[in-house]
Symmetry: C2
Subunit: 243 residues, 2 copies
DNA sequence: TGCGCCTTTTAACATTTATCAAGAACATGG
DNA sequence: CCATGTTCTTGATAAATGTTAAAAGGCGCA
């Protein structure tokens, strides 16, 4: 198949030209999936991984009882959604679209071949799953150590950073098509409380949300409230202050 | 250097004989580190990874304010503590001993050579960091979706499972040298509340703790209260019911 | 042995967050 | 355009959890 012409953004943009080109060569197809669709289910065998090209996706621990599943990750364009299923061939959680999404498909067999031929590219892919891990740790920190308002501020700050790196946030404005219920699942709080905290942040002059668009009025203040440190994602040397 | 003679247990026991032997060949030394020692610090460059041979270690997001750091992982013998620092050469969190520990040291340069020579062994190592990720997700779920009692039960259930797989829990008895303060940092609750919940679990006939030893009286009940599903760690096909 | 420090335990109280309920706003499909 | 369902918003109330404080237990060390 001819190499698809995909934008290289966000996390993918951190790959070298050579790695990116080689990885693209293993792409079998690009698919579109409508919003709110379950894409992969926990424990079902997987033989491909997905790169999110456009849209927003979520990962959930289904939860032993239906009324309280937990969102464990959100993926933005440029992220590999489930590259961590490559080494083991399975997932421990569900994967769904939030938005309408465009996804690039990478068969594990092709990835395996690539890793054998170019081990350094394998390590580059590995490091993308490692970054995913760092984000998980930050989610643990957020939910475990911060009170509601900090949690919300921290969450919004993370989204702003990741979407900005993906070229999808400008001047503190970006689309985030999550319901307050979704945010509740992500931050471990009730939807009602999300609503109240969002109001407080708005009245604080921090940021506001309107029909899926977030506008940050005072990024520094948001970071302070959320005890947000952008370096968790990038490492100190890589982090460039400002927008 | 001659290949050190280390037990192969827990997560390491899931490696093939060949992978394990090759990996051992890259071990440069075995070191002992006393309890409650900071071993690696966030953002400092790392050129080696550690395999925990004996003892208990913890990983923390230091937390922007000192009074509320969050524990994001606990390592038991057989775990690679910071293998995820190999692809990137840095960590986004601190690493400390809880107990006196014995650790096997693996220089990144030697690991890199190994990955180049035997890419499949590289994938096996990669899959160990992927399992680490799955545990992170489970911690997110625990802290985000479960109430205090469930959180505690779920946490104890995870420790029982992982220590049992490492050959360190028998008949529901195992050593867990954490203070209630530590458990609070791990579960995102105050030490005082940990104490209360521990009492409730004891009075429920579920499990009890005495001077660092946990005894589980009713594992099924503990799993039910904690909504614990052992498959999160192992996958369905690998999970063997019972002890 | 006795002192000092850390951990555990319990109680009282304050605060945060969840739950329930109801109406308003908003979107979707006929 | 209406009808229906979802999401947002707010208030009242309940429940869960945090905080503070104080006493008891354990442990190492002089």
């Amino acid at each position: 198949m001819t190499r698809p012409d995909l934008d290289r953004r966000g996390m993918s943009a951190r790959l070298s030209d050579r790695d990116w080109a080689s990885i693209l060569d293993t792409c079998s197809e690009v698919v579109e999936i409508p919003a709110r669709t379950l894409v992969s289910r926990r424990d079902e065998p997987l033989d491909r991984s997905l790169l999110l090209v456009e849209g927003l996706m979520s990962r959930h621990v289904p939860g032993p009882y239906r009324d309280r599943r937990e969102m464990v990750a959100l993926e933005v364009p440029g992220d590999f959604v489930d590259l961590h299923s490559f080494p083991t061939g399975r997932l421990d959680h569900d994967v769904s679209t939030v938005d309408d999404c465009r996804l690039a498909v990478f068969p594990h067999s092709a990835l395996r071949k690539l890793v054998h031929i170019q081990p350094e590219t394998g390590i580059a892919l590995w490091s993308m799953t490692v970054t995913d891990s760092a984000i998980h740790r930050y989610w643990s920190f957020r939910v475990g150590a911060l009170p509601a308002m900090g949690r919300m501020a921290n969450f919004i700050a993370e989204m702003e950073l990741r979407l900005r790196l993906a070229g999808l946030a400008h001047d503190g404005r970006f689309s985030l098509p999550l319901t307050q219920s979704d945010m509740g699942e992500a931050c471990g709080m009730s939807a009602v409380h999300i609503n109240r905290v969002l109001r407080d942040l708005r009245e604080d002059g921090c940021c506001s949300i309107q029909s899926g668009w977030i506008e940050i009025h005072d990024l520094e203040r948001l970071h302070r409230i959320g005890h947000f440190e952008p370096t968790f994602l990038l490492g100190e040397q890589d982090y460039i202050v400002g927008r």
